[in-house]
């Protein structure tokens, strides 16, 4: 994969995260649905605080904008972390 293709791939992921994520279905997913039906949904919680719970950037009033920004940030974090990890794994062979 060439560098140009990598950046094109990243751009596609960023566009999906920014423009399609606010349009995503807000219906519960399979597990949430089952948890609701079987009455254990309210057991769920979070053990520790996080920067942007539920893909919403705190302090931004518009839900769509907040989700889009969270999507953009998350995509960049995942891209950077996996690029770094993969580069590290590849370099190890040379040593």
């Amino acid at each position: 994969m060439k560098k140009k293709e990598m950046l094109l791939g990243l751009l596609i992921a960023l566009l999906l995260a920014a423009f399609l994520s606010p349009l995503a279905s807000s219906w519960p997913d399979g597990l949430e649905k089952v948890a609701g039906q079987l009455g254990f949904l309210e057991r769920g919680g979070a053990a520790a605080p996080a920067p942007a719970p539920d893909y919403l950037v705190p302090g931004i009033r518009s839900g769509a904008l907040s989700t889009a920004l969270a999507g953009l940030a998350g995509t960049l974090v995942v891209f950077g972390a996996s690029l770094g990890l993969a580069a590290l794994l590849r370099r190890k062979r040379v040593r």
């Binding site: 994969m1 060439k2 293709e5 990598m6 791939g9 990243l10 596609i12 992921a13 960023l14 999906l16 995260a17 399609l20 994520s21 995503a24 279905s25 807000s26 219906w27 519960p28 997913d29 399979g30 597990l31 649905k33 089952v34 948890a35 079987l38 009455g39 254990f40 057991r43 769920g44 919680g45 979070a46 053990a47 520790a48 996080a50 920067p51 942007a52 719970p53 539920d54 893909y55 989700t67 969270a70 999507g71 940030a73 998350g74 995509t75 960049l76 974090v77 995942v78 891209f79 950077g80 972390a81 996996s82 690029l83 990890l85 993969a86 580069a87 794994l89 590849r90 190890k92 062979r93």
Partner: protein, 213 residues
């Protein structure tokens, strides 16, 4: 099917953490000796794409949604080891930054969606590929993608039952049934993307060269 904190008891999530950490350590060690240069940018793009795609819930039926998991998609393109590693990384960022999946449950989520979904999913794909022949590669990938989602849902149901949140006889069939449909979305998206990759840049598919006689 990202399990939040609170659903699983320590007797379930601690062994899941241990198993996932053990397998991932082995995978990373193996990749450190064998990862090819060309896999590096592909892993990064795939991870970014899978993260973005996992935000895009599609309606399945009657008030239930699903989204791509991407395990088989990743493994078909970068292999079972790198595929499981990038899925784990996506799950870790989702839990740490977005509270999508709990921190205590991260080991179980990695077990279900990265180790079963991507790693085992790859071998289901490879087995089907041998059975159906390379001309039906997309069928093999689509079927493996569907099965990987149902498998992950089944494991999730088992873990919930072991944790005692619901009886096995209720939670397992409920999880499997809903994911029979969510898995169809997984298969469609996986096949659509692989069809494009095979048409535009077939050399990006893992070990495609090695399969040639």
């Amino acid at each position: 099917m990202h399990i939040p904190d609170g659903f699983l008891t320590p007797a379930t999530y601690l062994p899941a953490w241990l198993a996932s950490a053990g397998f991932l350590t082995g995978f990373l060690k193996r990749l450190a000796g064998t990862l090819q240069d060309r896999a590096v940018p592909l892993m990064a793009v795939l991870a970014a794409f899978i993260f973005a795609a996992q935000m895009l819930n599609f309606p399945v039926y009657a008030g239930t949604s699903g989204h791509l998991l991407g395990g088989v998609l990743a493994a078909v393109l970068v292999g079972p080891y790198a595929g499981a590693v990038i899925l784990s990384l996506v799950l870790a960022v989702q839990a740490l930054v977005f509270q999508d999946g709990g921190l205590t449950a991260l080991g179980a989520n990695i077990f279900n969606m990265a180790l079963a979904g991507a790693f085992l999913g790859y071998f289901i794909y490879a087995g089907l590929l041998r059975l159906l022949g390379p001309a039906r590669r997309l069928w093999a990938a689509g079927a493996a993608a569907w099965f990987s989602v149902v498998l992950a849902a089944g494991l999730c149901g088992l873990q919930l039952a072991i944790s005692g949140v619901a009886p096995l006889g209720l939670v397992l069939p409920a999880m499997l049934f809903i994911h029979l449909f969510i898995g169809l979305g997984e298969a469609l998206i996986t096949v659509a993307i692989l069809e494009t990759v095979l048409r535009v840049r077939p050399e990006l598919v893992y070990q495609l060269e090695a399969e040639r006689p």
